[in-house]
Each structure stands twice: as C-alpha cells, then as structure tokens.
Symmetry: C2
Subunit: 310 residues, 2 copies
Amino acid sequence: MTPEPTADAPTAPRWIAVDWGTTRLRAWAMRGARPVDARASDRGMGRLAPAGFEPALLDLIGDWLPAAGRMRVIACGMAGARGGWAEAEYRAVPCPPIDPRRAIRAPAHDPRLDVRILPGLSQAEPPDVMRGEETQIAGFLAENPGFDGALCLPGTHSKWVRLSQGRVERFRSFMTGEVFSLLVGQSVLRLTIGAARPDPAALAEAGAEALADPHAAQSGLFPLRAAALLQGLAPERAAGRLSGLLIGAELAAARDFWQDGPTAIIGAPDLARLYETLLLAAGAQACHKDGTALVLAGLAAASLDLPEDT
Amino acid sequence: MTPEPTADAPTAPRWIAVDWGTTRLRAWAMRGARPVDARASDRGMGRLAPAGFEPALLDLIGDWLPAAGRMRVIACGMAGARGGWAEAEYRAVPCPPIDPRRAIRAPAHDPRLDVRILPGLSQAEPPDVMRGEETQIAGFLAENPGFDGALCLPGTHSKWVRLSQGRVERFRSFMTGEVFSLLVGQSVLRLTIGAARPDPAALAEAGAEALADPHAAQSGLFPLRAAALLQGLAPERAAGRLSGLLIGAELAAARDFWQDGPTAIIGAPDLARLYETLLLAAGAQACHKDGTALVLAGLAAASLDLPEDT
C-alpha cells in the first residue's frame, strides 16, 4: 500500500492538472510546473453524466488529496462542454489561447476539491469551436513566446490555428480522423482494409495526389475496394492510400495556414510525423512537438496565473 | 389462400426477374416484358451465406413455380459477387452494359429452378466495379437506343457512366451515400442532425458552394456542429448542408461526365431530384428516370437474348 502523502513530503502534489477529453481522462500530480505522478483512465466525457465527473476524478486521484485542506485542480477539455461537469463558455477569437481568470468553478461535494475548468475557444465565421487544444496552444506559446505561424493539431477533429503576437487569430477544424475511423471500421472499405496499418509509401503517394487534385479524396475512395477485388491491392497499401487521400485533402483545404511561414504540428508522434512528411514534401516549413507535454505546460501556465485565493 | 397458378392462366409467370442487392431482394413474375406480380424481402446478399440464397428465393417466390417443369430466373446484382450465390466474373469496359450469354448458372437443389446471374462490369484504370447498375443501364438503352451522354446513378455508391453507341465507355463510383449515412448516424454530427430531413434550400446552397470550392466538403463538415452549438443551426438545415456539401463534391469530381452533353439521372425519385436540381443549377442538361422500372427493362432485354435451351 502506498503511504498517505504528507504536505511536506518532497513528492506531495501542490496542485493537480487534468486533461479531460471525450474518450480519456488524464491527471498529473504537480509541484509548480513539474509533474511528480501521472494517471489515466478511460472515463472520458462521452461516458459520463454531469454527476459522474466528481466520482470519476476521485476514483483516479483521491489518494493525492490531503487529509484536510483544499487542493486546486485545473482542468481543460470536454469536462467544460455543455453536458460535461460544468459548462465553461467559449471565448471568442481573436484572443490569447487561455485566460485563467475565465476558468469556471465546477461543483464538488468533497470539500477538499477546488476544481477550475478552462473555457474553450469559438469563432463566429466560419463557425468553429475547440476545447482542450487551446491549452496545448498555450503550452506551445509558453515555450515559443514569439512564434508567428501556424499550428496543426491532427486527430479525431484536426485543428489548424493561426498564431500571431501571442494570440489565436483564427482556426479551422476538419473531421479527418473521425472520417478515417468510420470508413475503415464501418464502410465497405472495412472489407479491404480490416485492421491493417497504413503503408507509409502508399500514404505519401496518395497524400501528394490529394494535394495536387482537390477531387482525389472523392474519386479515390471506392477504387480502393475495386483495386482489392480486381488487382489484389494489399490491405496495408489500401490503408495507406485512404489515410493519404484524407490527410492530403485536409492539407489542401488548409493551405492558407501553412503556405507562408512555419507550421508546428502538435500531436501523438506517429500521426504528427505523417502530417510532417506530407507537409515537407509539399514544400512547407514544418516540425512536430509532442502534444501531451504541451497540455501540461499549458495547464502549468494557467496555474501560475490563477492566484490561490481566487 | 392463393390458388396455385396453372401454366395457361393469363397471369401465370413465364419467367422470373430478380434484382438481388446488398440489402434487398426484389422479384417480379414476368410474361414477356410485362410484370404480373412483384415481391420484395430484406434478405439481401449482405445477410446471406452462399447456401442461403436458394432458400431465400424459394421463400419469396416458391408459389410462382410450376408443379412440374423448369422456370427461368434471371438475376442481377450482388447475388453474382464473390461470396454471393455464385460468382459471375466482371466484364471489362468498354463494352455493352449486359451480355446475356455471359450469364452464369447458379447451383440449385430444386429441379424447377433454372437460375442465371448477369455479370457486373469492371474497369482497370482507375479501378472500379459495378453489379446491378449495368442492368439498369441496359434498360435505359433499350428505351433510348441512340443515347450519347452520361448516366448518373446516385445511391450508397453513386455511379457515373459515359455511354456512347450502346456501350459503356468508362465509369466512376463515389461513396457519397455511404459517407452521408455514416456521418449522420455515427459521427459527432449525429448530435446536430439526428433524424432530421434535409432542408432543400440549405442543400441547394451548400451544393453550389461545393461545386464552386473543391475544399468546401472538407472544411464545411465540422462547422455544422459548431454552428449548432454557437448559433442554433436547425437540424434540417444542417442535414441539408451536409447532403449538399457531399453531393456537390461528387458533382465537382464528376464534372467531366456532365459538362458536355445530356445527363440522365437514374434512381429513387427523391434522391434523383436532388441531383437534378443541383445539376440544372450548375448549367447541366439533366433529367431523371425511375430506377426500378429500368432494372426490370434490363432484365427483360436479357430474357429476350437468352434462348430457352441455353
């Protein structure tokens, strides 16, 4: 059994950082900007009713809380959505990615919990929203304060973000990851692709095709099935071509973000590298950063700006 | 109880026409080119193992068979796919849409059944296949023998077909219908659209946008969710915009089929009219025809060309 932490132990958390997404809940025990412990669960917002958030959090990190006194918890992500723990109203761009004074308090029965949820960002035209990515952006800006360029955050709903002078000027979301999952898992292409991993060469080739021909992602889907039937196209190549067509179409539609100036890609390393490869091949100036480290940096930046007595 | 038909009764079928798709089985009792009865079931190819086809057919039309003697059954569609009743090899374009002499015999235990399945069409480059639509095309050509132009067959997997001198020159398939169903039923857009029917004005507007901007179908999906959250976009308008974006992107990618010469749209009336509206607005010369009547005309044409003793 782990001994109960005492407040003066060198690993006793001073505050708790939480990234609460649709499918996952991740928490870090923090001292200043330094994590001393980390945990995760699959109790994402998508599986929880509003009353379920506090028990899910206590189940995960209850033993990090002091016997007496309060613990500050700073959360970002879907916990602040309508239908989440407590709704944190979006902040409208252009604006800095986070403003800790706009964090809302989430209701908690346990008197030791002092939970603040950071709001997401919204854009009126074209309509768009984000929740969670704004904290990664703040983490990126904390490490790169003078950055002027684009961020790309690939994933279920990819985000492209224009940053200038510490502010999010505009952004655009794409359903690339979700469309890929649906096509592979549920469409007729499941018969061709199954659980195969994308072949990198096929991905690069199809990505270049989709960047050059804006209709390739429409015209190129069913031929994957036909090529498997007629020509024995391998599942890995079909998976690679599908991924390349969809990511290439996203890059083509986001060209105004990356064609001038630097682009930093923030995400899981495997996915970020795919985007980086296609962007570099298209002549963009791109690099990639790990998203987990940045969300923590963003929450730490919020912690600094949120005095204890607020 | 229906009295058993006798061969000389004026409504006794002389042959049976069958359209066996992935989700539906439809059969008609025929005298020449005239249907005297029609039935349908939901036992499509997708739900059947090879040994299940004969029982499914007998359950549906067993009482149309004579007490003694054989009945010709002419089928098209997925019954001829790999994993169907019996595999009918594709015929490669360019070629006339059907060649009844290439129909294959399907194995049957009931001695009264003489089942022939028409092959589908294939194309090597870009790889593509169809099964069932070739029979609708043959039905269209039987009624319009001199037609030189494009056919559009919208649906789960839409087909665009270039016809000239009675032959299919080339064709292209799009997964538009399947992508629409997946996005409405399974993606984050289900929260915005639910079971709403597409608003025609929103559909026309978004279709024109997607025809004018090839990236609209990539960039325009997530904003439907955001507009519902931020601006209360109505579910019917969101459904209409989604449908318009996807159909418009298909039309843009199929422009080489419809930009010169006439286009006949063959399909269910509601869906065919949506395509017709967008095509007419884009300056195309388009009309629509009911698909069910054409599949029957195609099967009747095949029946004429398939002598009894083959």
